[in-house]
């Protein structure tokens, strides 16, 4: 197997903060690799190091067999970068943006123009080709962004949170485009905070938190790794929520998640369900719904990191919710 991207022990600090605390990655050629983690986990820093925009303090990495530091110029000829921090020029039209990139990549004027037209058509931007990018909608702008990173026909594509802030339809469009690129042999490194996105697109996922890879595998492996099952309990009376929360918390050993009146938590081992049933019975809590199901990546993330993927502050929020619930029933 050949690897389009390899990284070993990448460390990068910004002053007192450690953005990358020793990251190892191996991305097989022609696959989609998902870097999954909350804001500030170090995903973008990892992409910036691999895309030659930033040098690591320690460790090394290769893209397409070239060292990102020593052979940065070669690496730049192989990659495309799209993301939160690599963007199109808002004061140029769609065509001009792509012409600019094509010309910088050494295409002749005619070739750059042909390539721009081809990409704009492929991304359904032909009608907007002559308008300044600042007039584009969010979805159009992302498509133009992606088109700009494809002008040079990259072998390795970095997509840094490509769908953040997009509506579901534009997100689905973008996913389709990525799938099409992979079918053509492009290797994609994708960072995302959306577990669904990683689940949908990635062949392999590395879960990143606080600058470290804390788990890695296929989406299925990851789901299986954490016990693979989630217990959900919904009491008949909302006033019993605090009791349910306490019971589920004690049995599973994690902070359960509460959505409206449903309490859920990942479980490990076969003993959890009977234990919860017994204890709820002892507490005379009537249960409207009690279920054990295969976990989603959401829950995987929760069990791995102890907090939700969307927001690092959520652990605190959950504790607050539990406190509030404990205090409320009279």
């Amino acid at each position: 197997m050949t690897f389009a991207i390899r990284a070993e022990g990448l460390v990068r600090r910004f002053g007192a903060t450690t953005a990358l605390a020793g990251v190892d990655l191996e991305v097989p050629t022609g696959t989609v690799f998902g870097l999954l983690g909350p804001n500030g986990a170090g995903k973008t820093t990892a992409v910036r190091v691999l895309a030659t925009l930033l040098t690591a303090d320690a460790g090394h990495a290769t893209v397409g067999g070239y060292d990102v530091r020593r052979d940065a110029h070669q690496v730049r000829q192989l990659i495309g970068l799209t993301g939160q921090y690599a963007s199109v020029d808002e004061n140029l039209t769609g065509t001009e943006n792509l012409l600019l990139i094509g010309r910088l990549l050494g295409l002749s004027r005619r070739d750059a123009r042909d390539r721009a037209a081809e990409l704009l058509a492929g991304f359904q931007l032909t009608d907007a080709a002559g308008r300044a990018a600042k007039t584009y909608s969010g979805g159009m702008r992302r498509r133009l962004d992606l088109a700009a990173s494809l002008v040079g026909r990259p072998q390795v594509l970095f997509l840094d949170e490509p769908t953040t802030g997009l509506d579901p339809r534009s997100r689905n469009d973008l996913w389709d485009i990525v799938r099409g690129l992979v079918a053509e042999g492009v290797t994609v490194l994708l960072t995302t905070q959306y577990l669904e996105e990683a689940d949908q697109l990635a062949d392999e996922i590395a879960v990143v938190d606080h600058g470290r890879v804390i788990a890695q595998g296929t989406p299925e492996e990851l789901k299986a790794k954490t016990g693979g099952q989630v217990l959900t309990v919904r009491p008949v009376e909302a006033t019993d929520l605090a009791t349910v929360l306490a019971v589920v918390g004690e049995v599973t050993g994690v902070d359960p998640e509460v959505t409206q009146t449903t309490v859920s938590a990942p479980v490990n081992g076969p003993g959890a369900l009977p234990a919860v049933v017994r204890r709820l019975d002892d507490a005379e809590v009537q249960v409207a719904e009690l279920a054990l199901r295969g976990s989603s990546l959401d829950e995987v993330f929760l069990s791995l990191t102890g907090h939700r993927a969307e927001d690092t502050a959520d652990t605190a929020d959950l504790a607050d919710t539990a406190d509030a619930l404990e205090g409320s029933p009279a």
Binding site: R48, A51, T52, L53, L54, G64, Y66, D71, H73, Q74, V75, R76, Q77, L78, I79, G80, L81, G83, Q84, Y85, A86, S87, V88, D89, E90, N91, L92, T93, E96, L100, I101, R103, L104, L105, G106, E118, L119, G122, F123, Q124, A132, K134, A148, S149, L150, G152, R153, P154, Q155, D173, D176, I177, G180, L181, A183, E184, G185, V186
Partner: protein, 272 residues
Amino acid sequence: MTAVTVAAPSARPVPARRLSPAAGLRHTGTLAWRSLVQIKHNPMELLDLSIQPVMFVLLFTYVFGGAISGSPGEYLTFALPGIIVQNAFFATMTTGFGLNQDLTKGVFDRLRSLPVARWSPLAGRIVADTVKQAWSLSLLLGVGMILGFRLGNGLLGLLAAFALLLVFSLAAAWMSVLVGVLVSEPDKVQIFGFTVIFPLSFTSNAFVPTETMPSWLQHWVEVNPVTILANALRGLLVGGPVAGPVLQSLLWAVVIAAVFAPLAVRGLRRRL
């Protein structure tokens, strides 16, 4: 959405090891083109480059002319070189403004992820801004001549004035680059321009003869680079001493570049 046809060609050239200097120049040219094409979609910039200088010439000539020099015509001869210098200083701010915009919006990262010469994004911007400077200068001189400004040293003086102003602007652009890499958003570059360049250009003899100012202020006015450059342009465009002010102007340009270019480059490195 239909599949996008972006198939990678099967025969792929081996990546080149390094860039030729000629390629770097070509990148610079392309990026300069980009900065100039932007004007088309941002008419405000054209306004800054064109209407504002013309407005200054008209207002100063007809409002202050009589009071300061006795007649608008005589004042124009004195003040036009000064207005040119002030305008050039303000125009250097576009470099920092545009650079900051590229940095904050992510365009700079996109450019750096491409196999282009590392210096070309900055060089392209500065080349484009020099073209803009030349445009403003031509416009100011053109309007001035319509209003009665007369060249005392013919074409040679005119060309020398052009060259001196552009050299000085290139040096002063480093101040702008430094501001552009230090501030967090483009608008702050303009605030800097206003709070520093405005007083700098007014505490000079650009608009008013030095003798009319209080003596403590005169000390500053005499060494102010705006004064020195305005005197050099007066010498070249109208007549009078040339060698002294031109040399002093070049000296200022060297000092400004020597101080601010390393700071700006260091600031840019730290920011990336």
